[in-house]
């Protein structure tokens, strides 16, 4: 099977390489910077897309291997033999994808071998781990004769081929356990799976879906490779699968509905919640629609309907597993998890790599029956078909897409991940002229501030206001600075707020609004200085030596112009000239606990003042709990 020149194949391979490229860069970031840096996983949703799709879905897609092996060897369905090799290969690569996906997901992948030696037979995951390991080995041995039969290891090949039957049966035993143990995994977490999905018979359900998935996946895989390689699909054989598939689907639907009624959770079916909608959607595409299409005879008539049925079953059952694995629990655990693009990219990349490996193997080894290939190609031999393709044309376009994917991923990674943590930009943008509408006469007057670019034209009570984005989420709060200053008593009161002691605050800690207390801040804005000093001509105002490299270390110091600001803390925040001045203000917490508090303590001691000063936390930490002095500190009582 060698048709490297076909355009659709080259496009498909290019796309797969692109995803592999993206995933490669994300992988590096994930292993260097940790899970938190690239995933949206949280303490509330410790399992995300990588488990839900890669592991749960990957194992599901691999189900074709044991289903077809059982059909051929146990049920003596010799006519299905042409499907066997591709199915086993899909299963093997599917399991490899699962293993790789797991390496990404688990926090300490270098410990992945430990379940082999630390036996915890009470853990469902322990069973899963063992099954993955053993079944992967069995699949490798089962498929090994294919690449080996064209090599010179004849005796080994023969030995492996003669062991096929025991291997197949062992494979079926392991698959039964493994597919069902994925369901067992969630038995211990009733709080995380919606009652429509949570049932003590989850293991049984997963086994049934595995059988359905196996058949669906064989159909999909056969049709897709047929399309890619312009091969004739094994429609007659595949159609023989539809009857058992329909039986499986009906059984599945019946078991699920009966189980729901027996457990008395039928009420959730029609409560109109999004979970119930999801349930019906899932049931419709996984069991309902495919059964109708099969029983209605559509699949027997059209290859397309057959493909569509396969696709529906695969998609529906993978959806079922993803739903059990997390989606259905969103409402219960009250989490807003949505996978980050890095997670999606990694999942796609792992699947793409497995697909590329699949294509690589079927192009080089005897996986598909001869005679089914090149049926369409025969008719098209023209001069055009032997057009010159430079050596490794596929490799060229594919690897180029790998490079583009990797570069794109590298560009999209957060700055902090690539270069390490950087100080945040100052959260203050502004000032703007805004409309202020008085909404209450209480003291202090509460104003409704409206950001209106046409404030001047509209008229009304116009204020100068600052735009603050304290938590850097891109949403600015309009802050009426003048009104605050006025209320606090004019210029003398700057320190009231500029030490973040909010007036009349008894309940909230500063950090509940000001998460940026922990962030180092870049307090210098170059553009504003350029603008206010008069554009390009004014560079020399600060960069007095224009020939020297113009950096922040090599420039006139702030305090030389802003003399009036020295008194209110700027000096404390910016290192004096000559030292390492990078205009980064330390975080407020650091400033208070590291810089401010120390001096204030000393000064207090000199003056014999004890209360209330900055030296005591209680001045700022105004909660009852915080008012008591910390034990580590001795406070003068007199």
């Amino acid at each position: 099977m060698n048709d490297q020149g076909s355009t659709r194949l080259r496009v498909a391979k290019g796309a797969l390489w692109f995803f592999v490229g993206v995933a490669a860069v994300v992988a590096v970031a994930r292993f260097l910077a940790g899970l938190g840096a690239v995933t949206n996983l949280t303490d509330r949703t410790p399992w995300g897309l990588w488990i839900g799709f890669d592991v749960m879905g990957g194992v599901a897609l691999a189900a074709g291997g044991f289903v077809i092996a059982a059909t051929v060897y146990v049920f003596r369905g010799e006519r299905f033999r042409p499907l066997l090799r591709p199915a086993v290969l899909t299963a093997f690569l599917g399991y490899m994808a699962v293993a790789v996906g797991l390496l990404f997901d688990i926090g300490r992948p270098w410990n992945i071998w430990r379940p082999m030696f630390f036996w915890q037979h009470h853990s469902a995951l322990f069973e899963v781990a063992w099954c993955v390991m053993l079944y992967l080995t069995v699949l490798a041995l089962e498929f090994a004769p294919v690449p080996l039969e064209s090599s010179r290891f004849h005796r080994l090949t023969k030995a492996l081929k003669s062991a096929t039957l025991p291997l197949v049966i062992l494979g079926i035993m392991l698959s039964t356990l493994h597919q069902s143990s994925l369901g067992t995994l969630f038995l211990i977490a009733p709080a995380r799976v919606h009652p429509l999905w949570y049932t003590p018979i989850l293991p049984v359900l997963f086994l049934i879906t595995a059988v359905g998935l196996g058949m669906g996946m064989v159909i999909v895989e056969s049709k897709v490779t047929a399309w890619l390689y312009r091969r004739k699909a094994e429609d007659e054989i595949l159609n023989n699968l539809t009857k058992p598939l329909a039986v499986t689907l009906l059984l599945y639907g019946a078991v699920r509905l009966i189980d729901l009624l027996v457990r008395g959770q039928g009420g959730f079916l029609f409560d109109g919640s999004w979970e119930s909608t999801l349930f019906w959607f899932e049931m419709l595409i996984s069991a309902g629609l495919p059964t109708l299409l099969i029983l209605g005879g559509f699949t027997a008539r059209s290859g397309r309907a057959l493909f569509f049925v396969g696709l529906l079953v695969v998609f529906g059952f993978v959806l079922h597993r993803i739903n059990v694995g997390g989606v259905s629990g969103i409402g219960l655990t009250d989490t807003g998890y949505f996978p980050s693009w890095e997670e999606v990219a990694t999942s796609l990349g792992v699947v793409s790599a497995a697909t590329l490996a699949f294509l690589f193997i079927i192009e080089r080894f005897h996986v598909y029956e001869p005679g089914t290939e090149e049926v369409l190609a025969e008719a098209e031999v023209t001069v055009d078909r032997v057009r010159y393709l430079p050596p490794m044309a596929t490799l060229r376009s594919s690897t180029m897409l790998f490079v583009i994917g990797a570069s794109l991923a590298f560009a999209l990674l957060p700055d902090g991940l690539v270069f390490g943590a950087r100080p945040e930009k100052t959260p203050v943008a502004g000032p703007r002229r805004v409309l202020a509408e008085l909404v209450s006469q209480d003291r202090p007057p509460h104003r409704f501030m409206k950001l209106d670019l046409d404030a001047e034209r509209v008229g009304g009570d116009i204020h100068e206001a600052l735009l603050l984005d304290g938590n850097r989420n891109g949403e600015f709060a309009v802050f009426d600075h003048d009104a605050h200053a006025k209320r606090r008593g004019g210029a003398a009161a700057c320190a009231d707020c500029h030490h973040l002691n909010r007036p009349s605050d008894r309940e909230t800690s500063c950090f509940e609004c000001h998460r940026d207390q922990y962030l180092e801040t870049d307090i210098f804005r170059h553009q504003r200085h350029v603008e206010s000093l008069g554009g390009n001509g004014a560079c020399a105002e600060c960069h007095t030596d224009l020939n020297a490299t113009r950096t922040r270390k090599n420039v006139t110091h702030c305090t030389e112009c802003h003399r009036d600001m020295v008194g209110i803390g700027l000096k404390a925040l910016i290192p004096p000239p000559g030292k390492d001045s990078d205009f980064h203000a330390p975080s407020y917490t650091d400033a208070m606990h590291g810089l401010c508090k120390k001096c204030h303590d000393e000064e207090d001691e000199k003056a014999g003042v004890t209360i209330p000063t900055l030296g005591l936390c209680g001045t700022c930490h105004t909660e009852p709990a915080d008012l008591r002095p910390r034990r580590s500190r001795t406070v003068k009582e007199d």
Partner: protein
């Protein structure tokens, strides 16, 4: 032989006494070197439990303060879920964690009905983080009780054995039936926990904390594994033989019929 659950170490927290000072939080932070609170964007304020805050105080309306920490269940779901035994229930009661064995699957976090274990997401070598009841410090003789209980200025949270503390709790409720709810949180939840709480208000637990021990649910399925494994194997071998025999018989029958037919033909 594990000592019975009643001799397990335990903590009794009395919500009516707690003044919400968070001395326990700071005590824990110091004793376990958890580091300072880093706010994550998804956290409900820094007050939520995190990898650097193993115990915290939830503020209920009306100045009621409820301490939250790992509950050291009598049959812990996390330890039973752990595939490598990194989390385990000690004979003394605390559920302890060994980071060097952990493979980071986070199944414990999925399994915990109280949603307690936290993860150091920002680290390239992450670990599960939760209260361990200062097990190592007490075992080594460095301390006589957990850092949190020793830090409490008003004895709102006290350390003892489970049996003893249950008795104390019952006494307090009996002495002031008008103040306390007649319920000891942790006596039966999830099969009983090492952390007991008595309160004058209802304590909201994460949605459906069951009363049965969760490991039982998994065990019900896992128990059948060897039988299923061997059963499926035997069934498959048997089926293969049976179907093979059927085909064989049919073939023989067909052959015989064909022979008969040809014999008839030759007779004619």
């Amino acid at each position: 032989m594990k000592p019975a659950a009643k001799h397990h170490w335990a903590i009794l927290t009395d919500v009516t006494k707690c003044i919400g000072c968070e001395s326990c939080v700071e005590g824990c932070r110091g004793a376990n070197h958890t580091g300072r609170d880093q706010p994550w964007t998804w956290q409900n304020g820094v007050r939520d439990l995190s990898a650097s805050r193993w115990t915290t105080i939830d503020r209920l309306p009306g100045n009621h303060y409820v301490r939250r920490q790992c509950r050291h269940c009598v049959s812990p779901a996390c330890a039973s879920a752990c595939p490598v035994g990194a989390l385990k229930k000690t004979p003394e009661g605390p559920v302890v964690y060994d980071a060097s064995i952990c493979m980071g699957c986070r199944y414990c976090m999925m399994a915990c009905p109280f949603q307690i274990p936290r993860y150091s997401w920002d680290s390239a070598i992450p670990a599960v983080r939760k209260c361990v009841l200062c097990h190592d410090r007490i075992e080594s003789g460095e301390a006589r009780e957990p850092a949190c209980t020793s830090a409490c200025p008003v004895d709102a949270t006290i350390f003892g054995t489970r049996e003893e503390l249950l008795k104390v709790a019952k006494q307090r409720i009996a002495a002031n039936p008008n103040v306390y709810r007649s319920h000891i949180w942790g006596e039966h939840e999830a099969g009983g926990t090492g952390i007991l709480t008595i309160s004058d208000v209802d304590i909201p637990l994460p949605n459906t904390v069951p009363t049965d021990p969760l490991p039982e649910r998994t065990w019900a399925a896992l128990r059948t594994v060897p039988f299923v494994f061997l059963g499926v194997g035997a069934g498959m071998v048997g089926l293969r033989w049976l179907l093979g025999r059927r085909d064989q018989l049919r073939l023989a029958e067909e052959k015989a019929r064909a022979a008969e037919a040809s014999a008839e033909k030759s007779e004619e």
